[in-house]
């Protein structure tokens, strides 16, 4: 019986002009978004690969200088775009693409692509993820708002129930009908996406295919919740018109108002400094030191240790290059402050994102968006991981150069090296996280989505069980 109801619903929907138009538009937008997303993504990836190779070449050919000058010259690290970012670019337009890794300083990332765009970007980007997050729920509402309310108005509900159809079968059948109609739209798009991913050899260590599967699961939960809510409202509503208006209101709250309200609330609850305040606080603490230990004290303590280690009482008598050693000490002194300040800032950003996940219990869009960006590797957590690895690399590189200077006693400040050393310096390789890492921070969002699906299904079922004929 359920199958027969589902088939009837599906047939009716596909014959309905409204579904054809709306479904056609959504499918078209999805294709455009996927196509242009892929185009952008391959451009960025290509530019990125060229840049990495060029940057290494520039580094190695920097000519003869002291290793510490080379550390000042530094290298640029370029943030790769995730493989699934063509589907959901997430925060990529709003995070810098590169960072300069130089001696003594942990720099901010530069060049947010959004600043190189047009002002309309702030209306929201047309991405495949946005189509799934915003437009498909609307399509579901459009398909199903009159599922019960409409049949009740036209009197067919009484007829159907008089045939002895169980109310719960009717609900499940109608839900399956909507799901079938959505599948008509989504299956080709998913196959296209999967083909594109296979072409890009997505099954990398970062788990492209697993991430895709997780993504599909997250969206199924989200869209399933919308089917449930829509059917539940359709059962309860006095009229089809009322069901539609109520459901549109729900959509506006979930998809339009909640994400922006969450931003303002998150910023109020977890404030962050301006760029100048951040720099000033860092500089001030570096000046005064931690626990009253400023640079001079720090250096003196390390110097005493060093002298004791070599059993001498003057730096002149050391068998190492003291200048090189001291550069590294100053590096280590400064790193403490970067660790503290960046961690504090980024923890605050993550707290804001965590708060957004919690709002997912009220507005499931925030939950699915969080999960989607995370699985596509385009959320703040992925950015932070890259930034932290780049910073660890900076420290390794600078230490490598300072240590080389330290190990060449007697040369003092005038010590020079050339390509021989530069090409031996470690290169930066970003270790992209696996899918488990990506979802490990998303348990709240996942719980919110599961809860939404379960609650909406229970609601729809219990409402259908008490379905009133008139």
């Amino acid at each position: 019986m359920v199958v027969r109801i589902a088939r009837k619903e599906l047939l009716e929907m596909t014959r309905d002009g409204r579904f054809r138009v709306a479904g056609g538009v959504v499918a078209l937008l999805l294709l455009i978004a996927l196509g242009l997303g892929w185009h952008r993504h391959s451009n960025v990836t290509a530019a990125h690969e060229i840049a990495i190779a060029q940057e290494r070449e520039i580094w190695e050919s920097q000519g003869e200088k002291s290793p510490h000058s080379a550390a000042h010259y530094g290298v640029y690290a370029f943030k790769p775009t995730g493989r699934l970012a063509f589907f959901d670019p997430g925060t990529e337009a709003y995070t810098g693409v590169t960072v300069w890794l130089e001696a003594h300083k942990q720099n901010q990332f530069l060049y947010r692509p959004a600043l190189d765009g047009n002002t309309l970007q702030r209306f929201g980007e047309l991405t495949a993820a946005a189509v799934l997050q915003l437009l498909l729920p609307l399509l579901i509402i459009l398909l199903a708002f009159s599922a019960f309310a409409g049949e009740r108005e036209s009197g067919t509900l009484r007829q159907v129930l008089s045939l002895g159809v169980r109310r719960s079968d009717l609900a499940v059948g109608k839900a399956l009908g909507v799901v079938g109609a959505l599948a008509l739209l989504l299956v080709p798009a998913v196959m296209l996406g999967a083909a594109a991913l296979t072409a890009a050899r997505a099954d990398s260590p970062s788990g492209g295919l697993v991430r895709t599967l997780f993504l599909a699961g997250a969206y199924l939960l989200y869209l399933g919740a919308f089917v449930g809510v829509t059917l539940a409202v359709s059962v309860r509503a006095r009229s089809a018109r009322f069901a539609l208006v109520a459901l549109l209101g729900f959509w506006v709250f979930v998809c339009l108002a909640a994400p922006r309200a969450a931003t303002d609330l998150a910023k109020a609850l977890y404030p962050t400094p301006s760029v100048q305040e951040f720099a000033a606080a860092l500089a001030e603490e570096k000046e005064t030191g931690i626990g009253g230990v400023d640079y001079d004290d720090f250096l003196e303590a390390r110097k005493q240790e060093l002298l004791a280690e070599y059993g001498v009482d003057d730096v002149e008598a050391l068998p190492i290059n003291y200048a090189g050693w001291r550069f590294q000490v100053s590096e280590e002194y400064g790193n403490q402050f970067f660790d503290r300040h960046y961690a504090r800032l980024w923890d605050q950003f993550e707290a804001q994102d965590g708060f957004r996940q919690k709002i997912g219990f009220a507005a499931p869009l925030l939950a699915v968006r969080s999960l989607s960006m995370s699985l596509a590797g385009s959320d703040f957590a992925h950015f932070r991981r890259f930034a932290e690895q780049a910073e660890q690399y900076r420290r390794r590189l600078v230490a490598f150069l300072n240590d080389d200077m330290r190990d060449h006693a007697g040369a003092g400040f005038s010590y020079r090296r050339d390509q021989g050393l530069w090409s031996k310096a470690p290169a930066f390789a970003y270790d992209a996280p696996d899918p488990v890492w990506a979802v490990s921070g998303q348990s709240t969002a996942l719980a919110a989505l599961v809860l939404w699906l379960v609650l909406s299904a229970v609601l729809a079922r219990s409402a259908a069980a008490r379905l009133e004929v008139s």
Partner: protein, 478 residues
């Protein structure tokens, strides 16, 4: 008669729970939006104040140090000497270029969350000075803010549509339409009266709530230009509302059922407020793709290497081109600061074509936006509200060029001193260039906002005319 229908419409609205629900909802979101805007604006102002204080404190300290040195003392730091003009321009006296917030800033966050309202001006190249930007969680920037402009551009049309989607279809379905038309009134007049009745209520409600939001956000209405900006803010809100009412009437004029009207209007709102803007943005970005900044960095690096290989040759070439900057007597080819700034000048010159390409592409994108903005009243309204609040793109763009002008002035003040190794004194600190923001011509903003208002009004009138024309063939019976 017109008035009687309007009065009847009000009675109907007052009896309907929808209006009360909408009023309460709108009041809540407006006040929430106002408090968000006020918080953001206060924070920005506080930060500006701190920057100004920081700058004068730093200058005061430098002056003290210079006086101390003049009395025979020595610099406080081994590495930093306030007598060195390069170090004074780079750090001791480095000033801020600040964009003063406009009076209506709390009403629209606009681009102010991503475009900086202050730059620290040092002797670095323009590329370096303007490369940094505000520090915010990218997820916040992605989602955008809940400000008064958001309520007006996105939510207010929905309120209008929720109250007017069944303007005629509702009466028809309830059977009252035929009754009303039995009175001596034409359908066109009835429809006009109904829409006027509904419109007056919604517009005055929104105006009252916006005014309340303005007061709640403690906007200083006595500030120059504040009052006229607020009046224009109301004007934009009014014509924007008119557009949506006209659209609702037009859809009603087709004579479909209420549910169908609701679907069509929701689809129209979605298309105009969300899909057209993001599709236009995507279209502009595809037509004028901005090259990756990664390329720019590479070019700067390569230009830098070339410049450093030329080294002292660059210095003499520079003084041949700028004899007025040349020091008297011998040129020291190893002078660190002279070399540094001459090299930076050379790098800027080398990468100028690339910088120009970036800017041309961004301008290209913006021109697509300007050409197609009339496709969506939401784009027009958002731009106008941002302009009125002083948070639109053009004001930040103007500020950047102002800051650039000041950076040039700053540089040309210090460069000759650096080349000539002039010793900075306490008196010289009093003669530093100062940044003062020269605002855009008010008439430029008025023209832009006025043009936008006209465009929205024109499309509203067009819709209204079509609706009234279509009403002549309105099917009175289903």
């Amino acid at each position: 008669m017109l008035l009687r229908v309007m009065r009847n419409e009000w009675r109907g609205l007052a009896a309907d729970r929808t209006l009360w629900a909408v009023t309460i909802l709108l009041a809540v979101v407006m006040l929430f939006a106002a408090s968000n805007g006020a918080r953001w604006s206060a924070l920005q102002q506080e930060r500006h104040g701190r920057l100004v204080a920081d700058q004068s404190e730093r200058l005061e300290e430098t002056r003290d140090q210079l006086l101390e040195i003049a009395r025979g003392g020595s610099p406080r730091s081994r590495f930093l000497d306030p007598r060195n003009p390069a170090q004074v321009g780079q750090s001791f006296a480095a000033g801020y270029a600040l964009l003063p917030p406009a009076p209506l800033a709390p009403l629209s966050v606009g681009q102010s969350d991503i475009l900086p309202a202050h730059y620290k001006i040092t002797l670095e190249s323009r590329e370096a000075l303007f490369a940094g930007d505000e520090l915010d969680n990218p997820t916040n920037l992605l989602a955008g803010r809940f400000d008064v402009a958001f309520v007006i551009v996105f939510l207010y049309p929905l309120v209008i549509l929720a109250l007017s989607y069944n303007l005629l279809s509702g009466e028809k379905e309830g059977g009252t339409l035929a009754l009303a038309l039995a009175q001596p009134i034409s359908l066109t007049r009835l429809a006009t009266a109904k829409i006027l009745g509904c419109g007056v209520v919604v517009l005055s409600l929104t105006a009252a709530l916006t005014l309340a939001a303005t007061v709640a956000a403690s906007v200083d209405l006595g500030a120059p230009g504040a009052f006229s900006s607020l009046a224009a803010y109301f004007g934009i809100t009014a014509v924007y509302g008119l557009f949506w009412f006209s659209l609702a009437l037009l859809v009603n004029a087709f004579g479909r059922g209420s549910a169908t009207n609701a679907v069509i209007l929701a689809g129209a709102w979605l298309t105009l407020a969300l899909i057209v803007p993001s599709a236009t943005s995507l279209f502009a970005a595809t037509l004028y793709p901005v090259p990756s900044r990664v390329e720019m960095i590479q070019s700067v690096r390569v230009a830098g290497q070339e410049a450093s290989e030329l080294g002292s040759q660059l210095l003499s070439a520079y003084f041949e081109d700028h004899p007025e900057m040349a020091p008297e007597g011998e040129i020291d080819p190893r002078d660190y600061y002279s070399l540094k700034f001459v090299m930076e000048d050379e790098i800027s010159r080398q990468i100028a074509p690339l910088t120009e390409r970036f800017e041309a592409q961004i301008r290209g994108q913006q021109s697509v936006v300007e050409k197609f903005r009339f496709l969506s009243p939401a784009i027009l309204a958002q731009q106008a509200l941002n302009d009125l609040s002083g948070t639109g793109y053009s004001r930040f763009d103007h500020f950047r060029s102002e800051a650039g002008r000041f950076a040039d002035e700053w540089k040309s003040h210090f460069l000759p001193q650096i080349f000539r190794k002039t010793v900075v004194t306490a008196e010289a600190l009093g003669e530093l260039p100062r940044f003062s923001y020269r605002p855009e011509r008010p008439s430029a903003i008025a023209e832009r906002v006025g043009g936008t208002a006209l465009l929205i009004a024109l499309s509203a009138v067009l819709l209204l005319g079509t609706a009234l024309w279509a009403l002549r063939r309105y099917p009175l019976t289903a």
